[in-house]
Structure formats: structure tokens, C-alpha cells
Symmetry: C2
DNA sequence: CCCACTACTTGACACAATGGAAAGTACTCA
DNA sequence: TGAGTACTTTCCATTGTGTCAAGTAGTGGG
């Protein structure tokens, strides 16, 4: 049975989606995540900031023709926390697949 | 691929746990759920009320020697909503199991 | 060089959600 | 009648989340 810890920071809908998207890839653009979640710049920016402060996400700015864009990725810590959180969700919900 | 809808009412940590516990059984006592979640009476009572107002949970009072106790269960609607929510969680998070 | 534009970031503010503490309700038993 | 059980509701403080507007930093055009 994999270890799992319910992580409230990750659990909030938007942050869960951010982490899930980032967990699937090495890194992704701010703009792409924002479009996937369909939220405003400021909402995404603030949620990312919280994840960065927890050292779950890291960002790097890349110069492009139009200015610069932000690439986001999960840190090793973030990947582990996300993994443990979904293990915990699994554990909580799998009860319902084996009803008495 | 099972249908799934992200349900914010169910997603909140305590309500997700309540639904998961109830999904595993036909019905359960208020007191048992409260001990499982380790929350106060008032917190559980309020969360149950929200789930009842959404017609996800139903309750019945049963007379016992010491007074009466409340038995809780998921309604058909609640079971369906919970099932769809965990399908959606599955869908969101399974991406991370098939990295590019 | 200044202005517009892109791509976020931050601050001010409003409002909904959550929780603890304590009072209230309903019922039973001694 | 008074105590105890089992919630329920109210009051209040805190936290979370979102909108909107303004701020910042770098780039390209006139």
C-alpha cells in the first residue's frame, strides 16, 4: 500500500488541476495552464505563488520575441507531495469500490 | 471512459471523506462518521446539512435507549455525483501516470 | 526616445467557506 | 424535575478565493 498524505494545499480544485497538468510533463507554459484551467491571470498567478512558496513548483522566465514567458514545473518535493496526495485520495475512495 | 463531473460541493476535504465513507456502506451513524473524520459535532452537522440540501445525503433518526441517533446514507443522486466526481479526479490525475 | 503591447504580478476589496465555542432543542431515564 | 445524550444552530473570527485595477519588465515600431 503506497504511502499517502492528504495535502490541503494541493487539494483545492485549481491547484489540484495545476499539479496534475504539471505532473504529466516536464514543464509547461503559464499561458497554457491558464487556458486549460480557464481562469484569470491573477488567479493563476496567485495559486502558482502559493505552490512556489511551498516549494512544490518552480518557474523560469524565457525571453521570446514578444517579451518573455514563464515555464512552470513541479519540483521533486512537489511531485512527491502530489503523488502522496493522489495515493491518499485513492485510499479514501477505494473503500467505495469494495462495499460490504 | 466513464463520465465525470468535478463537483465542488463534494470535493471539500471533509465532505469528500463523508461521501467516501457513506459510499462504502448502506448507511452509517453520525457518531461513527464524526469519529472517523475527527471533527466536532457542529462541523459535521453543518457539512451534512449542506449535503442534505443538495439531496446527496439523507438521514433518519432512530430511537435508542439513550435517546436517538442519526443514521446517514447517500441518496441515489449522491451516489451518482460522488461516482462522477471520483471518475473526474481519476481523469484529471491519470495523465500523470502516462508522462509524455 | 516614447508609446503600445505582451505577460505576468500585486494590491485593494468583497464575499463565501470553514471551524471553534457555546447555547438551544428534543427526548429519555432515574 | 434534573441530568444526560445526541445532535443543531448561532455567533464570531479566520482564511480562502475571486474580480478589478494598477504596477512592472522587456520588446518592437514610429
Amino acid at each position: 500500500m503506497p504511502k499517502g498524505k492528504f495535502d490541503e494545499l494541493i487539494h483545492a480544485p485549481n491547484r489540484l488541476k495545476i499539479c496534475a497538468l504539471l505532473a504529466a510533463v516536464k514543464e509547461s507554459e503559464f499561458r497554457v495552464i491558464r487556458e486549460e484551467l480557464d481562469v484569470s491571470d491573477s488567479v493563476l498567478s496567485k495559486q502558482i505563488k502559493l505552490l512556489e512558496e511551498a516549494n512544490y513548483v518552480q518557474s523560469r522566465k524565457v525571453n521570446v520575441i514578444t517579451g518573455k514567458v514563464t515555464w512552470l514545473s513541479l519540483t521533486k518535493t512537489g511531485r512527491k507531495a502530489f503523488s502522496e496526495h493522489i495515493n491518499e485520495l485513492q485510499r479514501i475512495t477505494e473503500l467505495s469500490k469494495n462495499p460490504l
